[in-house]
Symmetry: D2
Subunit: 340 residues, 4 copies
């Protein structure tokens, strides 16, 4: 009853598989028709068969050319995002694309023009906005219960170092990791970034320093609405995947703590103990990936503007460039310096 | 590789649907072949088709007669459990059956004889043992971290009254609701019930009293290993589905609190606030239903003894009868008075 | 400005010292004039001198005969309470007396008659009612925020065994320890006890059993207003002094957890840890002793009826006798069986 | 037995009264002989008499000239600190002085020279280090349990705006309020400040802006040992006096939350609620004032070096000057720029 929505997914790596699984199991209103991946090996074939993926291809064009497919989900490597969004837009298909949208500001802007011209929906995958805890904080802030946001604090620490090869190809800690956090700060405050001061250090592993990157970061981000955001990151929190948000305002404060692994407390003669918070990001954020796809589908079905939008994704990339510059020059950098 | 396990499900009501969904989505090693339900209406047909149930029937015998089916899951009405277990056992199929196994002690014993004779596996669905929090407490207790259990406390309160018609057919609060709680106490202590003292009262709704039942209960259960268990129940906890367990022992204490709806705390000039705990039992226990099926499959695959076993289920029913007698006569009642 | 209140304290043991210290340091409106203790040794003299106690005596009569003293605080051994209350009452002095008021029902009743006839104030020291947490729960209950109380849970566990000599002279676990807990249940519910079912066991130390006492207790107490109270006690909770109260009602539930030693949580690769709750009862209840004296002084100053009153203290002793009988006969015992 | 320590207190305002009360009630080993205050009015005389202060004077010289007094406690107005420390030192008396030690760097250095030359003990009152929670974190850090500190977070928010007159005379938010927080960061990390970047804003009350000050602050402080500290302040947290510390390191993380007003949680159909955290700084920090005096006395008695030392206090003032400069010029400022 009503229009049928049919999806093609480009990229069946870790993120692609998450989206495929969510479509098949958790979003019955969205039909999966085709999955494209340039590395179409036996392992992927077997996985797809087990999951009930209808068809696989190596050629993303099959997705763009299939008139039945009206939704394209892009989860391929970052350097392909821009091209695939443009092709999907030109094929008049709505697009959900993993973050980041890209790294070249001019090409992102060009892409947003095409998206606008072709009048398609574009949403970028900043999934943490859809985490039940952070979404709840946003609801509290948006309802006015804490008044005007004044200080926003985001803590995001990974449980363990990624392989050094990953670091080398990541584009640096700010665009790879911190980008989620100013997105969160802007989302919570309902504003965008005016200026950023970014500190970084190599405190975890000297190999990361040799690779030209940092493993620890602390930032102060001034938002356009006057609020001050503070972000701290580490590549290695040995006790688990530490993800917290706090919004302090004129009428109160809302704080989201980590999700517990279980609610059991053990009292012995030595200490009171609990299990650690989860280590794996999927334990924490799995539900948020389904939620973001549901939100996207809702926008497509009901002609709403998706958020995080392409414009927000562009802003996030601009902040990443400013943060990197701030770190290198050890001074606060305005977004207007970057976005000429 | 290895034997294929194929299931037939009898009963596609609320519990049956949960098991069907879990087999299809969460337990890939178990193949669903057939679902039997005496009420095979269009609604069920549509649901089954959407879910991908291969075939439906009105006749449970089709399940017993299908040589390919080696696992039978019984989720039909309580009064059919005994017959279906016996038939499945005689057809040499392993059985997972919803609680309670039955209400007639002699027929339960007869059934356990058949189960033993036919050498099949039988597990009864006391799913709360598989809740991540309560399972964690059991692991702590079993590992000796809190020493010898001395006091066990179980709180189980429903968020809202069921329809009065449900109450009338429930067999009474003890066998309908509290049965989960002494099962939990025994599970945690690794023991069984010796004597029970049960208090009850009608404090929520006089209609429940008119229907011959109670809505509030407090019990002291003496276990064979000397531990004292305390259970409290209410049919109506307006703040949510309140499910907590505490085990106190010679070397410590382990306490499982309710699961939070989210981790957000809101601080305002008036109060510090959180969202209520979940109201719906499926929010709390959904994962435990998949866990119990996985545990059952593991027992079948690896020739382990399932737990909760048929014998444990029988004990639980004996305690229910003793509790009812205790309440009616206002005195502690030994299980040996009931189980002659 | 206004009448001056001058106190004499009988008994300078552990409890007496607490009251003396509170009068001197925390209750400036109450003047301490005289302390009587039959064991007037050098150690006590030195302590009194350091604290600034104006005068010491061995003879309690000096207190009764001093016309300036209008408040008598009795903290001598239990078997002297009744006599001292009667003497103080006959001397027209208001009395604060440590719990229990006594053990002989007839003598307690006789004493309450004298108290009434002489028209003095009498308050008995069930200090836990003045703990900030339990007092807060009572305020919540009294304000109607949780509706009608239905289930009341009191957990009281000592951190370590007292000397076996103490046990022998204690009168038994129920009157020595549990008496605080049904007092708490009655206080919270605003009702009194109708019937009690008491279980006990020797699970901690067989020596306690040899001394004719128990070390673990579980009780269900039916209150006159229909609420069910559940109490559990242990003589040894190795993780600290465990004192919790929960009141569940028709509109909600109020729960007081233990006080933390500090608010620090330590997250490491192994576990999340906290310091244990305090081990020593004075860490938990010190403030409550000052609060109860302030409450008593307020009653005296403003002609209010003190609570816990002598009548409440009598009820508490009746419950202790009923609990002991219930435990010995393994059956619920009504207070009306005891209070003929 | 042993040397007697006798104190004179200069200044009997809010802080002076706290110290006097602590000496009289909580630190029996320290004898109070004389209190000097230039405003010796009837109100102070009455208060001193009630408290048992032996003698009052308007002339601080009486303290310096009294050979029996060997400890001077300075709690007079900030602009007198330097002079009084110097006079006390020259009189060979050990000194505890309220923070800040002063505002003129040269005069502070000159004073520290005199302190060194006269070989007296000097401790400055950064009392929060003696808060049971923050002290516990320091113990954890110092014991190596969280490894090398990498990120330190300090949140300090006042519950309500001070009078605008107070703001005008405060020297600005950084030296008045934030000075506690980098002291805390340095204390926790066992290091000192290398560089500071300070942001400030007027988000609470425009009157504060008109007075040339800010009411909201966010800082990143780079410590010499490489750790990054983040501090946030507000003059108005409507939900209470918000004081939290977090130290994240290579092996774990220690977090001190606010102290609760009580441990009661209220569950109703609408929400789960708690009482707010305390509003008043004395509710939170009262114990810490006695602890710091005890620590000082211990240093004097046992010839230990007091901490927070005069040198640490000097560093704290240098950071305040750097923070103010950083805020005014919107750039990170090194301490070496200030301390030429």
């Amino acid at each position: 009853m009503g229009k049928i929505f049919t999806a093609g997914v480009i990229g069946a790596g870790r993120m692609g598989k998450i989206h495929i699984k969510n479509i098949l199991l958790n979003i019955p209103e969205l039909k999966l028709k085709l999955v494209a991946d340039i590395k179409l090996d036996d392992q992927l074939k077997e996985w797809a068969s087990d999951m009930g993926v209808p068809r696989l291809t190596q050629d993303a064009n099959e997705i763009f050319n299939d008139p039945e497919i009206n939704i394209v989900i892009i989860a391929s490597s970052t350097n392909t995002h821009i091209d695939f969004i443009q092709e999907a837009a030109q094929a008049k298909k709505d697009v959900f694309c993993e973050k980041p949208i890209g790294t070249n500001i001019n090409r992102i802007k060009e892409t947003l023009e095409i998206v606008k011209r072709e009048n398609i929906k574009l949403m970028i995958g900043f999934n943490r906005r859809f985490d039940r805890n952070f979404k709840k904080i946003r609801e509290i802030v948006a309802s006015g219960q804490i008044g005007t946001p004044q200080i926003i604090k985001v803590t995001a620490r990974d449980p363990a170092l990624p392989p050094i090869e990953y670091i080398k190809g990541s584009g640096g800690m700010f665009i790879d990791m911190t980008i989620h956090d100013w997105d969160m700060a802007c989302f919570q405050a309902g504003s965008s970034v005016k200026e950023v001061y970014a500190c970084g250090a190599v405190l975890v592993d000297p190999e990361i320093g040799k690779a030209g990157d940092i493993d620890t970061a602390a930032l102060i981000v001034k938002l356009k609405n006057g609020a001050l955001a503070m972000i701290d990151n580490s590549r290695q929190a040995v006790y688990g995947y530490d993800q917290r948000v706090e919004v302090f305002g004129s009428k109160g404060c809302a704080i989201a703590d980590n999700e517990p692994t279980n609610t059991v407390r053990l009292y012995t003669a030595e200490k009171t103990k609990e299990d650690n918070i989860p280590y794996f990001f999927l334990q924490r954020y799995m539900d948020s990936y389904a939620e973001e796809l549901r939100s996207f589908l809702d926008c497509v079905q009901n002609n709403k503007e998706p958020s995080p939008s392409g414009e927000e994704a562009l802003q996030n990339v601009l902040v990443a460039i400013a943060a990197q510059k701030s770190f290198e020059e050890n001074r606060p950098v305005k977004i207007s310096e970057i976005d000429l």
